[in-house]
């Protein structure tokens, strides 16, 4: 097998891993949260069972649902899975990174969101429209903050190619202050983008408080399964992005078996650590008021912006 062929195979394996492992991450977080609340909690594999259950159920459609409503779950799942396939998980050098850089990845996520918002409004319920309105309002602030924090990293790497950025981060010989700012910003955005406490609560039943969940209230069966799966992939995507860009140590630089296996172990360990941290955070925090979400997101943006300033002041030419 030629080298480029091997790389493509590994790239596909990596994408498949992201898609298949995503429910596991959700399960680990749920379990941790339950233990932190002194509950026993559902088994870690429960999210897989839920997906299986939903795939086996009938998908009900509202009478006035158009093709947008029916297509959205597939678009959502595909774009999210595609976005996940460009993030280096255990191997730095990815052929797919040449096709889609970090801006394309953000655009894929934005496309998914656009479709979801349309679907929320498509069936004409008050909650769908409300959720779509909230989601778009907040995403207008979350996306710039996310891109800005990525740009801090690409400024150092002189590229928006994720593989190059990770490689650059891997070979930094000392910690850069700008990276700390970018990390803080990305962590904040990741919480908001994935609808976690204190911004949104994925496990709430209160329609009026929902952001993400309000848009998908009318979905059922395989449609709902795809949407939930896509959300889980998105969460794993953000976790992996944070790990690969900020704590990439252990990731394989060559497609040999040993470094790749070691990298897998490292990656898994780091994802679990992030999951535990998220569970602790979600247990300790209450949701903030809706009108404070813009403040939260602008804080993230300002942090990313400061990271960029710090990069120019302290790091360029130093």
């Amino acid at each position: 097998m030629s080298l480029s062929m091997t790389l493509w195979v590994l790239n596909l394996a990596q994408a498949a891993l992201m898609v298949l492992a995503a429910p596991l991450l959700a399960g680990i977080i749920q379990k941790c949260k339950a233990r932190l609340q002194n509950r026993r909690g559902a088994p870690i594999l429960q999210p897989y069972r839920n997906l299986l259950k939903l795939f086996g159920k009938e998908a009900l459609l509202a009478e006035n649902a158009s093709w947008i409503f029916r297509t959205t779950p597939y678009v959502l799942f595909t774009t999210t899975a595609l976005a996940a396939s460009v993030v280096p998980v255990f191997l730095v050098d990815l052929p797919s990174a040449l096709i889609a850089d970090v801006i394309a990845m953000a655009a894929l996520l934005a496309l998914a969101r656009f479709w979801l918002a349309l679907a929320g409004m498509d069936i004409g319920t008050a909650f769908g429209g409300m959720g779509a309105s909230r989601e778009m309002t907040f995403s207008a602030m979350a996306e710039p903050a996310m891109l800005m924090s990525m740009f801090v990293m690409s400024l150092g790497a002189h590229s928006t190619n994720l593989s190059t950025m990770v490689q650059h981060a891997l070979h930094l010989d000392h910690l850069l202050p700008s990276v700390a700012f970018a990390l803080a910003a990305l962590l904040m955005v990741a919480i908001a983008e994935n609808g976690r406490i204190p911004i949104d609560n994925p496990s709430t039943h209160l329609e009026l408080t929902m952001i993400h969940e309000a848009m998908i209230l009318e979905y059922s069966g395989r449609h709902l399964a795809l949407i939930e799966w896509a959300s889980q992939i998105k969460l794993l995507l953000f976790a992996t992005l944070i790990i690969s860009l900020f704590v990439p140590w252990g990731i394989a630089e060559s497609p040999a078996i040993q470094p790749v296996l070691a990298a897998l172990v490292f990656w898994f360990g780091k994802v679990v650590l992030l999951a535990v941290a998220l569970a602790v955070l979600e247990t300790g925090l209450a949701k903030i008021r809706l009108f404070q979400v813009p403040e939260y997101l602008s804080t993230a943006f300002v942090l990313a912006f400061l990271g960029m300033l710090v990069h120019y002041i302290l790091e360029v030419g130093a």
């Binding site: 949260k33 932190l36 609340q37 002194n38 509950r39 008050a126 909650f127 429209g129 409300m130 406490i197 204190p198 609560n201 496990s203 709430t204 039943h205 209160l206 329609e207 009026l208 408080t209 979600e282 247990t283 300790g284 925090l285 209450a286 949701k287 903030i288 008021r289 809706l290 009108f291």
Partner: protein
């Protein structure tokens, strides 16, 4: 006991003639018959005397006046207690004038007598049906004597005219009656602009069980089972209210041990519900830790109830004349130990809640109801106490055993979610103290007095402080000890209005938090 003539004299001074009805008990809560034309001015006088409105209902005549229909209303004064007013309606086209301009909380009850009894309420600002849904035939009036309880009503298509708002950007959000969580059914119609609530309109009446109709003709011993299910989470208080009303009518005095046991059960019910609700309020702000802890404590309580009394929610332990359960020394100790342990645990959880800045940020200042607003609608229970209305029947009426206990009422002022939670924390501690006092000094006598139903036509009124607030129960007996008419009034009937007021100042996503802080009963509102 001497007859309470205070309000009769006051009315006399204002030219309203009244007659004291002999066959109503107790005498310190008299029933006064007034003329129909004085109906509204009597309510006005009550407002001027700073009395609070507690209930309004209608009944067909009893033994000697079957052909007549009567309207009843109850007012209460902190010092001079309750007074019940009754007016006979015209035989043909019965009508009564609305008192909602003096007591806005009366309006929904007026809507109920309008639809259930075919009594026209003249001058009512909102004549729409309330509990009777639009799908019921317009000419069906279920509480009228000629309406058979087993009538199967056809479904008639109809539409409820909700309040509308116009203007750019105004939209409606229908919520319920089927909710995502496990709660009672109720419909909320929000008019909103963006995230701001312009108006909340409640549409209840999805839990109609026909309790008032079904109670008619039952013996008190059977009826108490149904009456105590008016709202399942207040079963002790409803059972007690019903028992006290029939005991007042029958002149039965219950043993001191029975009343102490009733109070112990009632305070345990108060603790359990406050504990569960505080957890649920925190959960509505996504602070799930408190929810899990409070659920655990509530479950501990339910399990001990099952062990000691045979029922997790304390149902069917109160009967006319007394109680049907007892505590031996060992059980007494068990209950005391758990109550004091609970109180300590709740206090430690309270400090976590109070120190949690994110949680405090959500509750402080959210959904305030001012004292003026609270008085205007006559809010009761913890919601009233949070806004500055320190009314508590355990202190004012001081029915046994509270006459020998010094119940301390938490005095809130701000009327927001934080204050409502604060009041409930305080009440948990106070209830624990009361339970320990009662258990430490449990009178040693019978569990039950002999029950003997009174003569036909005799009626009794009782007011009990449930955990939600004041329950009013009125029972009139017919022949052979059968209940002729019974009405139960849940404090939620008034407090639902408080919620409508509270959410005018909050953004949409804060509604669930406010709703839970009131936690009104859907079932108790809709017998």
């Amino acid at each position: 006991m001497t007859v309470n003539t205070w309000f009769a004299e006051k009315m006399g001074n204002h030219g309203i003639h009244s007659t004291y009805l002999e066959d109503h008990h107790p005498a310190h809560m008299p029933c006064l018959e007034i003329r129909l034309i004085d109906w509204s001015s009597a309510a006005q006088l009550a407002r001027q005397l700073d009395m609070r409105f507690t209930a309004l209902w209608a009944a067909e005549g009893g033994k000697h006046d079957e052909h007549l229909r009567y309207a009843y209303m109850v007012f209460a004064h902190p010092k001079h207690r309750h007074v019940m007013l009754r007016a006979a309606l015209r035989e043909n086209e019965p009508a009564v004038s609305s008192i909602s301009e003096h007591f806005i909380a009366a309006m929904r009850m007026e809507r109920v007598i309008q639809e259930m009894f075919a009594i026209e309420v003249s001058g009512i600002p909102d004549p729409r049906p309330w509990l009777k849904h639009e799908h019921w035939p317009a000419d069906a009036h279920p509480l009228c004597g000629d309406f058979a309880a087993d009538t199967v009503m056809p479904r008639c298509p109809g539409e409820y005219p909700f309040i509308k708002a116009e203007g750019s950007g105004v939209y409606e959000i229908p919520v319920g009656p089927v909710h995502a969580g496990i709660i009672e059914p109720g419909h909320f119609r929000f008019l909103a602009v963006g995230e701001h609530i312009l108006n909340l309109e409640q549409r209840l009446g999805y839990t109609h069980k026909g309790i008032e109709k079904r109670l008619q003709g039952q013996q008190a011993e059977q009826a108490i089972h149904l009456a105590s299910r008016a709202s399942g989470d207040m079963t002790v208080a409803f059972g007690w209210a019903f028992a006290r009303a029939v005991e007042a009518a029958a002149g039965v005095v219950i043993p001191a041990r029975a009343s102490a046991l009733r109070a112990i059960l009632c305070e345990r019910e108060r603790m359990a519900n406050h504990i569960g609700d505080i957890g649920a309020i925190c959960n509505d702000a996504s602070f799930a830790f408190m929810h899990a802890q409070m659920q655990r404590l509530r479950e501990d309580m339910a399990r001990l109830h099952k062990q000691l009394f045979g029922h997790r929610l304390l149902m069917d332990l109160i009967k006319p004349g007394g109680v049907s359960v007892d505590l031996n020394a060992e059980q007494n100790l068990l209950l005391r130990q758990q109550t004091s342990a609970l109180a300590i645990e709740v206090e430690s959880l309270r400090s976590i809640y109070a120190d949690h800045s994110g949680m405090q940020e959500r509750v402080i200042g959210s959904g305030p109801v001012s004292l003026e607003e609270a008085i205007s609608i006559g809010m009761t229970g913890y919601a009233g106490r949070a806004s500055g209305i320190y009314v508590d029947e355990r202190v004012e009426e001081a029915y046994p055993p509270y006459d020998r206990l010094n119940v301390r009422i938490p005095e809130g002022r701000d009327g927001d979610v934080a204050t409502r939670v604060w009041v409930r924390f305080e009440e948990i501690a106070e209830s624990a103290r009361l339970i320990e006092t009662l258990l430490g000094d449990l009178p040693d006598d019978d569990l039950c007095s002999a029950w003997q139903a009174p003569d036909a036509g005799v009626s009794g009124l009782a007011c009990i402080e449930s955990w939600r607030g004041e329950i009013v129960c009125w029972v009139r007996f017919g022949n052979q000890g059968r209940i002729d008419r019974c009405t139960l009034h849940d404090p939620s009937e008034v407090n639902w209005l408080g919620l409508e007021l509270a959410v005018r100042h909050v953004p949409l996503p804060d509604f669930p938090l406010n709703n839970k802080s009131f936690n009104c009963s859907y079932s108790g509102n809709d017998l």
